[in-house]
Assembly symmetry: C2
Homo-oligomer: 211 residues x 2
DNA sequence: ACTAATTTAAAACAAACGTTTAAATCAAAC
DNA sequence: GTTTGATTTAAACGTTTGTTTTAAATTAGT
């Protein structure tokens, strides 16, 4: 029964190759060879290469976003129930932990994360907008919560700082590939737990900076 | 005499299209049409598309890096002359201001900045390493200075925080293209001066965060 | 065992790519 | 004015791309 998991084999190979080489540089011929399926299988199952990209995105992003939304909504509910502003580090962890946890779950997940980190600034409208539309609800809620947590800051400043944070996160996530710039004699802990902690530490302080 | 500035016309068009559509998606046919030159002119003047990419990078990066290195070196010298650690905001401004200033200098410069922001995480080794090699000396000196400015922090933590900063900067620089995620009723000041200030404010606080 | 949905194989498709070639054109030196 | 060398031009090169098509082989479900 090599045929029921054909779609999954394609998605896995696409995730891997898209992450390693990008969408453009990955041809359907490499991809189907890596997946061990026929060249025509992609167009048969997904219709086109672009639809395959959408499917690769959606398979991971939908559950990941659902988790983030739930945690953010919980924070919002309990904060408004107790009549206090939400806590910043709590907000950040709700957004970040699912990503870091998922990233630790395997090589495929790691590939996926570096892929979406790049999709954020993809020059092609189709790819970037596809990704942005998926992230938008999370982004909106995150922005809303941060504004409540930082009531003394103008909203447009919160907005910029939120984007600084997103850039820092995207870069940290895709850094495994580009670690050429490591100064001599520097031992890097790649432990994801402490990386998440350090990240929250850094960003929380930045967000709370006085004007 | 439309032939003496052919190289410049190609570089300008390449800078614009590479920034807007990426290296892969920009064909030499679009590029030469945009530049108003013959298709073969690229291979005649630059040898190949990859050499053209190098030239586009180098034309702006070399003077930009030179400026950054000079300012950073000045900070290092005067700090060691006065026997005190360098100031963090001073360091950040030395690195950031040339970029923001250059970015304000025109549309071509703006295109270029979003281009190199993307080159940082380019999936193709050739493009990414080309860029990293150009940035490396600045990165090293920046890291060295930050370690001196933050003597209480372990070096690997300084390293991570430096990378958070770089990610935040790259994202902020390429954000002009992707501003789809703007919440309703939010007025964004795109004034580069205040953006640089806000950026330094954010990053300086993040860098100085307690463990 | 019949039907319908997959999978494979091999081939071909038009389109676009980077690159190369050879002739035409130009600027300047003699 | 002619020659020389650098530049521009138009056309073609060979490859690769995503996609489609053909047919045969395989599988799953009623």
């Amino acid at each position: 029964m090599a045929h029921t998991d054909t779609k999954k084999r394609i998605l896995d190979a696409a995730e891997k190759l898209f992450a390693q080489q990008g969408f453009y540089a990955t041809s359907l011929r490499m991809l189907t060879k890596e997946a061990g399926v026929n060249l025509a299988a992609v167009n048969y199952h997904f219709g086109s290469k672009e639809e395959l990209i959408k499917a690769v995105f959606g398979r991971r992003m939908l559950p990941l976003n659902k988790m983030r939304l739930e945690r953010l909504q919980n924070i919002k509910d309990s904060a408004s129930a107790e009549g206090r502003p939400p806590d910043i580090k709590e907000i950040l962890l709700a957004f970040i932990e699912p990503t870091f946890e998922f990233r630790k779950s395997g090589k495929g997940a790691q590939d996926f994360i570096s892929m979406i980190s790049r999709a954020f600034s993809d020059p092609r409208d189709t790819v970037r907008k596809l990704f942005l539309n998926m992230v938008e609800p999370v982004f909106q809620l995150l922005f809303e919560l941060l504004c409540e947590a930082l009531p003394s800051l103008p909203k447009n400043i919160v907005y910029w700082r939120l984007n600084f944070m997103i850039g820092a996160m995207a870069h940290a996530m895709s850094m495994s590939q580009m670690c050429q710039l490591i100064p001599d004699g520097l031992v890097l802990k790649v432990d994801s737990v402490s990386l998440a902690e350090q990240f929250v530490n850094f960003v929380a302080n930045g967000l709370e900076a006085p004007l």
